[in-house]
Symmetry: C2
Subunit: 376 residues, 2 copies
């Protein structure tokens, strides 16, 4: 099909200047540095890393995280988990409930292939439904109980946790192996001390759930928490066993916008490895030029993209275009390329089919974003 | 590849209730009604419709617009145009400048296949560059001159238009066939009278450019304008020859949010044909439930999605989830499906690989969103 030829042509050895824009660039050295840095931070605190693929949607990148020492990979949706496992990734944790018949069928397939596969539960009816698919099989479905860490999006309220856990442990076909306490509301709190405090309260909930599982006889429960914005606190919590951060690999303007000195210090370990390359396509205005990356290439969320070239500002300019403003004397000219740190990496990556992996301004690899669109 | 099996499986005859969510539904009858209504409005004013594919990214849908009487299809980017033409669509107008080497190569390919293909120009250097690719061929590239209709995003300033047109007409390899005067800033102005007035001023610019082309000897120039928000004014402008509206086919909450009585009257011809189907995946809170459609399934832009089921409100809840609030007694239960009118149709469609075409609650067709991701 023509589109595939256009979009997945062989770009190996192509110079940055000759790439079709808009497109996503991955700086290979920076990416490897970020992967190693997070692995080092987590391991030096005696924790494990199960990096989240919802950020990068790329099984090649996931494999690199595993190669760096991650014990597995997290997936946000069943189809994302299924895609990772199809690509050979093992130790996949599905961090959202599997509710639809379609998602549950994928869960069965995932568990059949990946012995380390686990799901998260926050509803006993759902637990029964999943268990029924495993009761007739000669295996159990590994499950983390998802406790609501004051976020309220998914998760079992702590007040119900003991009763839930007692019931879940008794369901044939399920093996309760730990707790998930994801605090999504914490990750982007700008004030460092406030973020630490809100995260502490969230972790307290997780710790209590973790203790309940131990009291109920679960042996060495997994305790999975954290994101890029809270990992610096989570690794210091003795009970935590693993971190499910994702954005650290690529980074974005939303995290860089958290500019407190302490945050900067933490995020210094993770400079952006991802940039968006765009081209000036119209230059008839005195105070700005128009580039070929708009809403469909830079997801409008979280923060304004950062123009890497100094003295220039990006703003969205409709679905297909962006506006680059700056000192009129230093505005780029028609046809010139610019690099941007993206607003919010996760949904922006989900707009593209590939990463161009770059070294010294040349494409050294092309990684399919093979899990793009896997929202089911 | 596993992902393709998962995502493009045969869903013909599948009931709505059994579809994997989140997914996009197209109501076949409503879509056909919308296509016929716009065609009728445009034709009854003696104009032609060249519907914009940037909204739906689907060559099957484009073919249906042609079958309803559209003279061609507009494309926002060169790769989108190339994809449409590869799928058999003819009369494609590329509404953005083709600046990169990649885009220009696609322009050459488009012009070779589609005798009705045309590009838009707003820079003489770009015009020369494109012309050079056609000078050695036995044909000319059809071009509309893009005049800046007070929008400032792309386009030739009116003050330069005569000089630009005089120069462009003399460039061998180019055939100047008309003017484009797209007023993107007009489409979503809430106040109807203000929208009409701002559009009138934009159209005045287009009319002046149109007259200049006639004065310079261009025979029966094309005068292409308009979107869904301005078509009701544009069809009444005598000089206008064609309308490039797109959203009317699918519609979205952003257009429905323009609630003046006059707008409602116009948009009554175009009820939403597109909805997003989502499932409740967590229901442990008293005042809301969590559904499986977040930023990656409902592009956050323009307006808040509208829940079709009465008494419920949607809000985004991170990349993967949405929050459905309402009267606690009438909140949907775990596993229930909801339909949403999407916030902004264009970038939302660009998140999915297919439309499930629905009639009486059953999938009667699956249309690939084959131009998804064609932002280059």
């Amino acid at each position: 099909m023509r589109k595939e030829v256009v979009k997945n042509g062989d770009h190996l050895g192509v110079k940055r200047a000759d790439l079709p824009t808009p497109c996503l660039l991955l700086d290979r050295d920076q990416l490897d540095c970020n992967l190693r840095n997070m692995q080092k931070i987590v391991a030096s605190h005696g924790k494990q890393l199960r990096a989240h693929a919802k950020t990068h949607k790329c099984s090649r990148l996931a494999a690199r995280q595993i190669a760096c020492g991650a014990v597995g990979i997290c997936a946000a949706k069943a189809s994302e988990a299924r895609g990772l496992i199809a690509a050979g990734i093992r130790g996949v944790l599905l961090t959202s409930p599997a509710i639809t018949a379609y998602a549950q069928q994928l869960v069965v397939e995932c568990a059949e292939i990946d012995p380390g596969f686990a799901v998260t539960l926050d509803d006993l009816g759902n637990a029964d439904g999943l268990a029924a698919k495993f009761a007739s099989r000669n295996r159990r479905l590994r499950c983390l109980l998802d406790v609501d860490a004051n976020f309220g999006r998914t998760g079992i309220p702590l007040t119900n946790f003991r009763a839930f856990a007692e019931a879940a442990i008794c369901i044939p076909g399920l093996e309760i192996v730990g707790v998930q306490a994801y605090a999504g509301h914490v990750q982007h709190i700008a004030d460092f001390a406030e973020r630490r405090e809100v995260n502490r309260r969230a972790s307290d909930v997780g710790v209590r759930a973790f203790e309940i599982l131990k009291e109920l006889g679960v042996n060495q429960p997994i305790f999975s928490v954290g994101g890029t914005g809270s990992h610096m606190f989570d690794v210091n919590r003795p009970e935590v066993t693993e971190i499910q951060a994702g954005s650290y690999a690529l980074m974005d303007a939303e995290y860089l916008a958290i500019s407190s000195a302490e945050s900067r210090l933490c995020f210094d370990d993770f400079p952006p490895a991802l940039t968006l390359l765009t081209t000036v396509v119209s230059a008839n205005q005195p105070a700005f030029v128009t580039v070929d990356a708009g809403l469909k290439a830079l997801y409008r969320d979280g923060a304004t993209p950062i123009v890497v070239e100094p003295g220039l500002q990006y703003d969205w300019f409709g679905d297909e275009f962006g506006k680059i403003s700056g000192d009129p004397a230093s505005l780029p000219r028609l046809g010139e390329q610019l690099s941007l740190v993206v607003s919010h990496c996760d949904p922006t990556v989900n707009l593209f089919d590939q990463f161009f992996v770059i070294e010294d301004g040349v494409v050294v690899d092309v990684w399919p974003i093979d899990l793009r669109g896997c929202s089911q």
